[in-house]
């Protein structure tokens, strides 16, 4: 359960693209083992926030602390070291197209952590096993299904032993029948106490996993609370309304 010192904390992040403000001062904290879920309408800035949290997109303003230490974006080495400790999962997987599944997992171990090839492969295989893909290591991304690709991407991030995982709509690019396998992996991570922030529209994850829901709209977190607070029947919260509409969508399909 959540402890007192935040693992990752983000203060007052702002970001504009060509003069249009996309993030207007977002702050949040993740405590160890905590799972926060970002929801909200498309274009609200969820992806931009997660990318700023990993400095893949440079925030215009704001601070980020990892384990109580501020990460200075102008110090490139610090940023690289920071990214090693913060895993990121993307909507469209971003597996390295020229590497097999196992090499996708192993390459950062070898080139970044400078682990020997043999040990890197052993570790990579272990991570692939955890996501149920031990027998697919020799396949290239083009030979994997979407769900398998996302599971390899998760294995790749976990191989770096991240302290926090940022997940940007990990199931949105998947066919409905493939979503389950990825959700199962995320649930297993949650059970192991992984600290995560997750943008998703999966109602099941929102209800069952979230310690806190952050409702984001037009570059701001406009509502936050536990699923119990925000999702009780008849609650007038934006979150409840949004989730109702998600429910309707899924009922229709």
């Amino acid at each position: 359960m959540p402890q007192d010192v935040p693992v990752l904390s983000v203060k007052n992040i702002t970001k504009s693209f060509s003069g249009v403000p996309i993030l207007k001062g977002v702050s949040l904290e993740l405590r160890e083992g905590e799972i926060k879920i970002l929801i909200g309408p498309s274009g609200g800035g969820k992806s931009t926030l997660l990318q700023c949290m990993n400095y893949l997109v440079a925030p215009d303003q704001g601070q980020i602390w990892l384990d109580g230490e501020e990460i200075c974006i102008t110090k490139k080495r610090d940023v690289y070291a920071y990214r090693r400790r913060v895993g990121m999962i993307f909507q469209d997987f971003n597996l390295f197209d020229h590497l097999t599944a196992i090499d996708n997992v192993a390459i950062a171990l070898r080139k970044i952590k400078k682990i020997s090839k043999k040990e890197a492969l052993i570790r990579a295989l272990k991570e692939l096993e955890m996501v149920g893909l031990a027998d697919k290591g020799h396949l290239y991304p083009a030979e994997l299904s979407g769900g398998q690709k996302q599971r390899v991407a998760i294995a790749r991030a976990l191989a770096m032993d991240p302290e926090v995982l940022l997940l940007d709509e990990p199931t949105s690019a998947l066919d409905p029948e493939l979503i389950g396998e990825v959700i199962a992996v995320i649930r297993a991570l949650a059970n192991k106490g992984m600290t995560m922030i997750l943008a998703t529209h999966q109602i099941g994850l929102i209800r069952n996993l979230a310690h806190e829901i952050l409702f984001m709209e037009q570059g701001l977190i406009v509502e936050r609370g536990t699923p119990g607070e925000l999702l009780s029947r008849g609650n007038p919260s934006r979150t409840q309304g949004f989730c109702d509409r998600l429910n309707e969508l899924y009922d229709e399909n």
Binding site: Q51, N54, F90, F96, A108, K111
Partner: protein
Amino acid sequence: MELSPFYQELISSLNRGLLVSIALIVPSVLGGIVIGILAGSVRVFGVPWLRKAADGYAAIFRGTPLVVQLFILYFGLPNLGIYFTPYWAAVVGFMLCSGAYQSEYVRGALLSIKRGQYFGALSLGFSGVQTIVWIIIPQAVRRALHGCGNEIIYLIKYSSLAYIVTCIELTGEGKTIATEYFRFTEVFLVIGVYYLVLVSIASMILKKIETKWHIPGFGLH
């Protein structure tokens, strides 16, 4: 069967010319690839002034006839005190011209790699340079291979322009014989066969490399 004196002389001249052609082609191909990779990478990743310089280089060498470039190298540069032997004038001209075309293929290949590949690498802690070395270049090489191979095959054929700067290679040797015996059709048919063989060997090597480096999803076939 004895060959007639004409054919004996033709074949021995052409073989001599062939060696010169190969001596022109091999360094030009390698130099062209190195220049192409450097210029192509600079045109994508370089700081603005460097990028503009590389763009300018490619525009000039793709925008002017090779004959003009060779003339300037061999007959023009001596006015500035820069002298090349015929052989080196040809090699330098071929390298620069081929490099310009190669840079175009390299640039296209680099630009075709999606932003997500950079994101994937950076998110794991790769630096910019490490991302380019370990992730982007191995993919770009495969994307560029086909175009670059094509350019190599062109180069084999335009190496015949070396005679312009009095470097006598395959075509030059053949021309001398043809003029001497006034038997143009036969001579140039045989020269054609020589080039066909050269190009076929190059194609085979390229095909081997393409097969060896083939990865599912990099649709070359």
